[in-house]
């Protein structure tokens, strides 16, 4: 039997002789150390690719962000804000200052300048690479405070730990993934936390904080539309469930007005908050709040209930009518623009497939299959419904918010794979509530049973149990053992979660995409660095004013690493320009040459995976080029390139396919190559067939460079022959 006397002895034996910590201080120490460990864990879990390869920027979009950050640190803020880039979208150019979200670049530049001020002279690339893990660590701290608001400190700690390693978040915030989402998720959670705090306390300063958080979010990512629609929806739900209060009034009004004014400072957003259909919900709820306040005041002034009821009916109907008429007039006159395609396809998922092939072609925009959910969330999928149950048991303003955030974001995650990222904080928080509540239940089971033998006197728990003490005596050890077994089970599940997350991060989400790796015949790792090889060749062996035509996927990388002008890039803001490139790639060489001359193209770059078996190459993307080109130029018809509805490159392929520019550029000289032992020459390893047209002759282009594994091929456009 443990007596109270041993605890000071225990402390003394740890040689904290002069440091007798009280319980509250012990608790604080445990909490701070847990948060510190979680902070470090979130950072180092994202460093796999830096340790395996090197510190480099991954994928496609981050290269644009890196280039703009470089420009910002070299030329200063005003040059950056007014930058017109003539190196992309030749000959149109791009107004970069007005068409990007500056939050990420400004954040990285500030960190860079702060480090330089402290005399740490790091390269801006290192700062860019490590921005995402740094902000992921900060997100765990915000998650802790948010969990504390919604439930209690235990839930906050669990939420911080879960979100530190959740694969749904890691996928877009590994070291090297220098993209808007790295900073945006931090801003999102911060805004939500500050707003919930404002609603809970009704204080103007917290509402002000949430307005600034919203401003940071608007500057960082286009997904801010989620915030400006979720918060009004939340306010509406509170109004419907009869939870209108002065705190809500103060919080929402301050946040909406200030947030809207601050958001208009970003040129890319401009006046959308008053002109775009996606932002009208917030304005409608704002006006509704004023109506509620007015009704409240009238009810207070007017002490007659019956008169008030009639007044209520009249006001509500007239308010709805006026609002509806205003909305109708605005939409009909064109002042309020309708929902843009990207966001409309979230409400109607079939829209993009039929009407906008560019949106449909991006793999991240596909709806989510069940395996993606399982892969990214593991046991959080079990804990989520349980957490919802606990929230519904203890409904308050804060729990209603997290339930709404979780449900709306999970629905959108089901529509588009990329949005699993937005749902991750909500899923982690709600799961943390489930874990914390269950563990609390189980440990209270352990504790109350212990107190009964000791508390022979006054304690309330003991006295209420004393009458049933006799009947419970026999089951006490059984229940205690059961509780201990269940606690072990909970820890086992959480440890399996940690193992799963580490495995997923290491295997699936730490690939830089620009450097490919494969296992050789003896199990050794082979690295394909062809992309960077090609871009550096471009940088060093072509004239500085050369223009490069390629499919839009590679645009950002060519401008950032090759430092050459491109025709189209990943911004995809001009569909007709992309369709022109698509048409050129899918036409015969003569027509394509005319198009290329009209665009002043000097070099053409294609990606080819036939030698290595790399399957994300231009031949596999070719049908999208045809569809997008055909969407603008009806002369390009998709059935011309298919045989019986099937896409083939072997002998049975359609003649148009065998002679189009993309085919010729990819398979030039490939017919002489032996790629696999025992197969004929010209065997395409990515498609698994022998190609149909092995004797490719180019008339207007000549081969300039092919990388060592034939992944990137560059061709020079010959000037027109002299007329005689």
């Amino acid at each position: 039997m443990v007596t109270k006397k041993t605890s000071p002895d225990l402390l003394n034996s740890f040689s904290f002789k002069s440091l007798k910590l009280k319980t509250k201080q012990q608790e604080l120490l445990i909490r701070v150390s847990i948060l510190g460990l979680v902070y470090v864990l979130a950072f180092i879990a994202r460093l796999f690719s830096v340790l395996r390869y090197e510190s480099m920027i991954h994928e496609f979009d981050p290269y644009f962000n890196y280039r703009t950050t470089l420009f910002l640190t070299e030329k200063g803020f005003y040059e950056f804000w007014n930058w017109f880039d003539s190196e992309s979208w030749y000959p149109l150019g791009r107004i970069i200052g007005g068409t990007l979200y500056p939050g990420l670049m400004v954040t990285a530049a500030l960190i860079y300048w702060a480090l330089r001020f402290l005399r740490f002279f790091v390269h801006i690339r290192e700062v860019c690479v490590l921005t995402a893990p740094f902000f992921a660590s900060n997100t765990t701290i915000v998650a802790y405070f948010f969990g504390k608001e919604i439930w209690d400190t235990g839930a906050g700690l669990v939420a911080a730990a879960l979100i530190a390693i959740c694969p749904g978040y890691i996928s877009r915030s590994v070291a090297g993934s220098y993209d808007n989402e790295a900073v945006a998720i931090f801003a999102l959670l911060l805004t939500f936390y500050l707003f919930v705090k404002a609603v809970k306390t009704g204080s103007l300063s917290w509402a002000l904080g949430s307005a600034f958080g919203y401003f940071y979010m608007v500057s960082a990512w286009g997904g801010y539309v989620f915030i400006i629609n979720l918060i009004p929806l939340y306010v509406l739900v509170l109004l419907i469930t009869g939870r209108y209060s002065m705190r809500l009034y103060v919080a929402y009004n301050c946040m909406y007005i200030l947030g809207m004014l601050l958001a208009m400072q970003i040129r890319f957003v401009g006046f959308q908050h008053v002109q775009s259909g996606e932002h009208m919900g917030a304005m409608g709820v704002f006006l509704l709040m004023q109506v509620f306040y007015f009704l409240d005041w009238v009810k207070y002034k007017l002490n007659d209930t019956k008169l008030f009821q009639t007044f209520l009916k009249i006001t509500v109907t007239s308010a709805v009518l006026v609002g509806g008429i205003a909305l109708g007039v605005g939409t009909a006159s064109g002042y309020i623009s309708p929902w843009t395609g990207r966001f409309y396809s979230l409400l109607d998922p079939t829209y993009a497939k039929d009407h906008i092939p560019i949106i449909a072609s991006v793999s991240e925009h596909q709806p989510t299959a069940w395996s993606s959910f399982m892969f990214d969330y593991h046991i959080l999928l079990f804990l989520f419904p349980a957490g919802l149950y606990f929230c519904f048991k203890r409904l308050s303003d804060a729990t209603i918010f997290i339930v709404m955030y979780g449900l709306t974001s999970l629905y959108f995650a089901g529509v588009m794979v990329r949005l699993i990222l937005v749902a991750t904080p909500a899923v982690c928080l709600i799961s943390a509530i489930a874990v914390s509540a269950t563990v609390k239940n189980l440990t209270s089971l352990l504790r109350t049973k212990q107190k009964i033998p000791q508390a022979g006197s006054t304690k309330g728990v003991g006295s209420s149990k004393s009458s049933s003490k006799v009947t419970l005596d026999q089951s006490q050890p059984f229940q205690k053992n059961g509780a201990i077994a269940l606690l072990v089970g909970v820890f086992y599940l959480l440890s399996r979660y940690a193992i799963h997350c580490t495995w997923v991060t290491s295997e699936a989400y730490s690939s830089p995409s620009i450097v490919l790796a494969a296992r050789g015949a003896h199990g050794n790792r082979i690295i394909f660095d062809d992309y960077r090889e090609a871009y550096y060749w471009l940088r060093q062996n072509t004239p500085t004013d050369a223009k490069v035509m390629s499919w839009w996927d590679y645009g950002y990388q060519i401008t950032a690493m090759g430092n050459r002008t491109v025709i189209v890039d990943n911004n995809t803001w001009n569909n007709t320009h992309i369709a022109t490139v698509g048409r050129a790639m899918s036409s015969y060489e003569d027509e394509a040459y005319d198009i290329m001359r009209s665009l002043d193209v000097n070099y053409v770059l294609v990606v080819f995976g036939g030698v290595t078996g790399y399957s994300s190459d231009d031949i596999n993307k070719f049908l999208w080029m045809v569809r997008i080109g055909g969407g603008v130029y009806p002369v390009i018809k998709e059935p011309d390139y298919l045989v019986n509805g099937e896409f083939r490159v072997d002998k049975g392929a359609s003649p148009k396919m065998l002679n189009c520019l993309m085919y010729k550029l990819c398979y030039y000289r490939f017919g002489e190559l032996v790629t696999e032992y025992g197969k004929p020459t010209g065997y395409d390893r990515a498609r698994g067939v022998e190609i149909g047209n092995k004797d490719v002759k180019l008339e207007h282009l000549e081969e300039a460079y092919t990388t060592s594994n034939w992944i990137v091929r560059i061709y020079r456009v010959k000037p027109p022959t002299n007329r005689l």
Binding site: L239, I240, T241, G242, Y244, S245, M246, F292, L295, D296, K299, Q309, L312, V316, P349, T350, K353, Q366, P367, T368, A369, W370, S371, S372, F373, M374, F375, I379, L381, F382, L383, F384, P385, A386, L388, Y389, F390, F392, K393, L395, L407, L410, Y411, A413, G414, A434, A437, T438, N441, L442, L445, S475, G482, L486, G489, L493, I499, H500, W503, E507
Partner: protein
């Protein structure tokens, strides 16, 4: 602060709303939207997502979640002991079965899982 709510409008109880939400959660997690848009076959032998797999794994997740809820109900003080014990066993068995089946599903889907 006040009850200025719209006239003649009774709200459903929280638990009714929760039951509806659980149903929509089941649909979303099974990849229902993916099934509606991409229309994969019901069942097959290659490594693609299929409808029946999605629905059964979604059911496993919901079962696991309900198991945890039943555990919480079992620890509620105001019930008879036998009811509490049956809730506890049902809850624990739901969680165990749900977890084991989900792990089995993921090992089928991803051949190199945890290697």
């Amino acid at each position: 602060m006040s009850e200025t709510s719209l006239p003649s409008f009774t709200l459903p109880s929280p638990m009714t709303v929760f039951a509806l939400i659980l149903l929509t959660y089941f649909l979303v997690i099974s990849g229902f939207i993916y099934d509606v848009i991409v229309e994969p076959p019901g069942i097959g032998s290659t490594q693609d997502p299929y409808i029946i797999e999605g629905l059964s794994s979604g059911f496993m997740f919901v079962m696991g979640g309900i198991g945890i809820i039943m555990l919480d109900l079992a620890l509620d003080k105001n019930r008879a002991k036998s009811v509490k014990a049956s809730y506890a066993t049902a809850g624990v068995s739901s969680i165990v079965i749900g977890y084991v089946m989900s792990m089995l599903f993921i090992r089928i889907k991803i051949p190199g899982y945890l290697h």
